[in-house]
Symmetry: C2
C-alpha cells in the first residue's frame, strides 16, 4: 500500500465523488424503514431488546436461511448461518478465528483496499494473486501455494471490488478443491452476489460450504442499508463452532440483535426481495449512463469492461497518466474516484482508477462524468 | 480459568437462574422502544441509514456528551467519545488498538469472567491484582509493576463484577498517576457507574481522561437495552486517534449507526434519564429483597456485603463448600448462580459465588432464593 487508504464518506456539498462506494440516498427510503420498524414493534417482546443468542436470533437465522435458499437457489440451513455486524467486522472476525499473527493471507490483485489494513492489523503477511477476466488466476494461485501455506484466501468472487471481474464456475470448483488439499480457509466476500444487472452469476461460494473450507460473508449493507450494520457468515459446522468460541462474541450475545429484527421483517414480508429488485433496476440504469458517458468522452484515453453486477467500473488509462496525482485534479473539479494503487498489495495499477456508480442518481452521474472527462482531456 | 465460562443466556422455562447478569423483561418495555423508533423515523433522513462516521454520528456524540456531562457531573466533550457495539466489543477493540500478542494485562481478582477469554484470544498474559473493600489494592498493583510492564490494566472500578466492590477516590487518583508513570492504559469498564442504589460513587475514570492514560468504556446495555448493541469509549485525543486507525472501523463506518439514532433520541427526550431512574428504583428494591432472603436463610453459612450499586451479590460460603459442584445441585433445583472460580485468573474463589438480582422481579427473587437456600441447607 503506497497510498494511505481512507474511507471516503459523505462528500463535500455539490461534489460528485465516484470514489464513494456507498448506496445513494434514494436507495435508502425512510418509508421502508418506517414499515420495518412498525412491523417489528407491533409484535415485539421485551426479550427482543436483550442480548440475544451469539449465533444470532433463531427467527432471524431461519428467515435468512429461507431468503438465501431463494436468492442463491440452493438450500441454506439456519445452523450454517451466523450474524455479523457488517462485512468489515466479519472480515476482522474471520481473521480473529482463523489466523494468528505471522500467518499469510492471499488476496486478489486488485482487491478491496480497506481490507488490507484489517489484515495488517492482525499481523498477517499479504500475498497477491493476479486476476484475469475469469477472476483469480488458478495457475498463479497454485504457484503461490508451492511457496506459501496461507491461513486464508480472501476473494471477492462476484463483481470483484474494484475490477468488476467474476470468478468463473470451474475456477470456483478448483478453488474449493484446493482449500481442502492445502488446508486454507476461503474467506469469500460475497457482498455483490445479489446485485446482478446482466447475464448470470456462478453459484455463491456460500452454496459450496459442504465441499471445502469456506467462510462466506454477506451483508445487508448492499441490499438493504449500511446503517443497520448487519451481515452474516455462512459456513460449515466446524467453522461456525470456531466463530462461537470468540471471547467477545461469547460475552456479548448477538452482534446486532436490534438490527436483526428489522432485517427479519424485511425478509419475511417480501420487502427485502422488492428492495433488491428496486436497487438492481436503479443500478442497471446507472451502469447504462456511466457506460454511455465513458463511450462518449473517455475513448481512446481509457479502456474498461462494462460491469455485469456490483458497484464499479475499473478503468485503465493510456498516456502513462498517474491516477494518484489525477485524483487531486478531479477533486478540484468537483468530482473524484479511487486511484488504482490503493487496490494493490504491491503498488501496481498506477494507471488505473475505480468509479462507483452506486452513490449517485443517473443525472448526477452524467454531470460528474462531464467534470471528470474535462479533467482527463487535460492529459490527452 | 479452571471452569469453561459460558454466557448464561435466557434460561430454561421456570428456572430462576441468578447466574444470568442481564436485565429483566420488565426493564425493557416495548413502549419505550416504540416511542424511540417513532421519534427517530419521524425526523429521519436517508443518510441516517448509510454507514455514518467511524467515530460515531456527530449528533449522537453531542447528545452523549451532554448526557455524560449531566450523569457524571463533569464536562464531557463530543470529540472525546467514540461509538462502540457494546462493552464486550469495546474490550476487544481496546485490546486490538493498545496491545500486541505477548503483552501483559492486569486484571482485578476477582473480575468479569467473560473478559478473560477476550484477553486470551488476543494472546495476552493475564496477571491478577487482588481487591479489598476499597477496590484494587494499590500496594499489590505497585508490587506487580516491579515485575511486569502491562500494556493494559483492566478494572471495573464501580461495583466490580462480581464482588460489588468500588475503587475508592484516592485509589483512582493513584491508579491514574501510575498509568502515566508506568505507561500503561487503564481499560476502565464503567458499565455500572450509573446504577447507584445507596450512597455516592467516586467520579468515573471517564472524567479523568485529561490526567492519565484512560480508556473508559460505557454501555447502553445496562441503562437502556442490551439488544441495541451500543456503547461508547471516552478517552483523550491520542487514544481516540488510535481507535480510528483500526482497519475494520475505518472500513465500516459507525459501528452501530442505526442503534445510535435510537439512543440519541432517548438522551435528547429525557427518556434515558427517566429510564435510569426507573431501573435504579427496581434494582434497589431487588437488593432489599435479596438481602432479606440472605439474612433470613443464608446465615451463618454465607458471608456477603450488601451491594450499593451494580448487578451482584458476592457470597463467601463456609464449610468448604465447592461452588462449582453446588451449581449443578442448584440447577437441578430450578435455580442457579455463577461459581467463584470463573472470576479468577488463578482458580481461586472455590467457596464463593455470584448472585445477580438484575434478571428477575422481586417475587421471582424470593422464590429463587427459597430454592437456593434449600440446596445450601443440604450442606449445613
Amino acid at each position: 500500500m503506497n497510498v494511505r487508504a481512507t474511507f471516503d464518506s459523505a462528500g463535500v456539498a455539490g461534489q460528485i465523488n465516484f470514489g464513494i462506494g456507498q448506496p445513494s440516498p434514494d436507495l435508502m427510503p425512510v418509508d421502508l424503514f418506517r414499515s420495518l420498524s412498525e412491523q417489528f414493534i407491533a409484535g415485539a417482546d421485551p426479550l427482543d431488546f436483550n442480548y440475544g443468542a451469539s449465533q444470532g436470533d433463531r427467527r432471524f437465522l431461519e428467515s435468512l436461511a429461507a431468503f438465501l435458499t431463494r436468492a442463491y437457489g440452493h438450500p441454506a440451513a439456519p445452523d450454517s448461518l451466523f450474524v455479523t455486524g457488517g462485512n468489515s467486522q466479519a472480515i476482522e472476525l474471520v481473521c480473529e478465528r482463523f489466523t494468528k499473527p505471522g500467518d499469510t493471507v492471499f488476496v486478489e490483485e486488485p482487491s478491496y483496499f480497506l481490507a488490507f489494513q484489517i489484515f495488517l492489523d492482525r499481523g498477517l503477511n499479504i500475498v497477491s494473486i493476479p486476476l484475469d477476466e475469469q477472476g483469480m488466476r488458478m495457475d498463479a494461485l497454485e504457484d503461490a501455494l508451492r511457496h506459501h501455506q496461507p491461513a486464508l484466501v480472501y476473494t471477492i468472487p462476484s463483481f470483484n471490488n474494484p475490477s468488476g471481474v467474476t470468478l468463473s464456475g470451474p475456477r470456483r470448483e478448483r478453488l474449493v478443491d484446493l482449500s481442502r488439499a492445502h488446508d486454507f480457509v476461503i474467506a469469500a466476500d460475497e457482498v455483490y452476489q445479489l446485485l446482478v444487472y446482466e447475464g448470470d452469476v456462478p453459484p455463491a461460494l456460500g452454496t459450496m460450504i459442504d465441499r471445502g473450507n469456506i467462510v462466506s460473508m454477506g451483508t445487508f449493507s448492499k441490499i438493504l442499508a449500511p446503517g443497520l450494520r448487519l451481515g452474516w457468515i455462512q459456513a460449515g459446522p466446524g467453522h461456525i463452532k470456531r466463530l462461537l468460541e470468540s471471547g467477545w462474541v461469547n460475552s456479548g450475545g448477538s452482534i446486532n440483535h436490534n438490527s436483526s429484527h428489522l432485517a427479519r421483517h424485511a425478509m419475511d414480508s417480501g420487502l427485502q426481495d422488492q428492495h433488491i429488485e428496486f436497487a438492481v433496476s436503479r443500478y442497471r440504469e446507472r451502469v447504462d449512463v456511466m457506460q454511455e458517458e465513458l463511450e462518449r468522452a473517455f475513448r481512446p484515453l481509457a479502456r474498461w469492461t462494462r460491469p455485469r453486477g456490483g458497484y464499479f467500473f475499473w478503468l485503465e488509462l493510456e498516456n502513462g497518466i498517474d491516477t494518484v496525482a489525477l485524483r487531486g485534479e478531479a477533486i478540484a473539479a468537483g468530482t473524484g474516484f479511487q486511484p488504482g494503487p490503493v487496490f494493490s498489495g504491491s503498488g501496481r495499477f498506477g494507471h488505473c482508477l475505480r468509479l462507483s456508480f452506486a452513490h449517485y442518481t443517473a443525472a448526477q452521474i452524467r454531470e460528474g462524468m462531464h467534470r471528470l472527462s474535462g479533467v482527463l482531456r487535460n492529459h490527452a
